[in-house]
Amino acid sequence: MLHTVNKSPFQNSSLEDCLRVAQKGDVILLLEDGVYAASAGTAKSSLIEKVVKQNAVYAIEADLKARGLGNLIKDVGIASYGDFVDLVEKHTAHAWL
C-alpha cells in the first residue's frame, strides 16, 4: 500500500489517522502541506521518527523547497514527481485528505 498525506500535522489529524491504519512495509508519501511532518525537531516530529523505522517514508522535493524545509528527520527519502508516479504504479494508493 501507498499512503499519501497532504495536510499539515499541526492542522488536523490526517497523518495520525493514516499511521493508525498503515501496516508494516507500507509506503508513506508526504506531499503539499504534508511535508511539514518531515521537519526535524518539531512538536510533531515523533510521528514520523517512529514510523520511519519500519516503513519507507518519502517527501516530495518541490513541496519541501517551496516551504523552505531542509532540516529533515533522518531516513526520510526525497521524492521527485517522477518517483511519485513510480510509487503509484507499483502500489494501491490511498489518499488521506
Partner: protein, 133 residues
C-alpha cells in the same frame, strides 16, 4: 487617504502554498494598508510557516508571495507579530524568520515581533474588526 481611526487585525493561521489562504491574507494586508487603517498582522499556528526563510516555489510552478511579505514595511505595514509558541512547536528559531523590510537609516532587517499568546490575546481584544485566514 485619511486615517479612519479604526483598529483592524489580520490573523494568519494556515500554512503557505497548500491552500490560497495565505496568498489572500497578503492581498488583504495591502488593501487595508491602502486605506491607511491602524493595521496589525499576526502570524500564529501554521501561519508562522509562511515566515520560514528560503522558500522557493519554482518547482510548484507558482510565483509565491515571499517578495510581498518582504516589502510590508514599504507599504507602512509595520505592526507585524508572530506567536512564540507556534514557532517553537515548528522548530523555527525566532531569529531565523524572514524580514519584512529594512530600517531606513541603518539598513538593518526588520522582522515580525515575537509575542506570547497572552499579549496577542490582549491585542485581539482591542480591535474593531479582525479578518482571519
Amino acid at each position: 487617504m485619511a486615517a479612519t481611526g479604526k483598529k483592524v487585525m489580520v490573523t494568519v493561521r494556515r500554512a503557505p502554498h497548500g491552500s490560497i489562504y495565505v496568498q489572500e491574507s497578503v492581498e488583504v494586508m495591502f488593501i487595508f494598508a491602502t486605506y491607511d487603517m491602524d493595521l496589525s498582522v499576526v502570524f500564529l499556528d501554521d501561519g508562522v510557516l509562511a515566515l520560514q526563510k528560503g522558500q522557493d516555489t519554482k518547482g510548484l510552478g507558482i510565483k509565491g508571495f515571499m517578495a510581498s511579505l518582504g516589502a510590508l514595511v514599504d507599504w507602512e505595514v509595520t505592526n507585524v507579530y508572530v506567536d512564540r509558541q507556534s514557532l517553537k512547536d515548528r522548530n523555527i528559531a525566532e531569529d531565523a524568520i524572514i524580514s519584512i523590510g529594512k530600517d531606513d537609516d541603518t539598513d538593518a532587517p526588520i522582522r515580525p515581533k515575537v509575542l506570547d499568546s497572552a499579549e496577542i490575546a490582549k491585542m485581539m481584544a482591542a480591535q474593531h474588526a479582525i479578518a482571519s485566514f
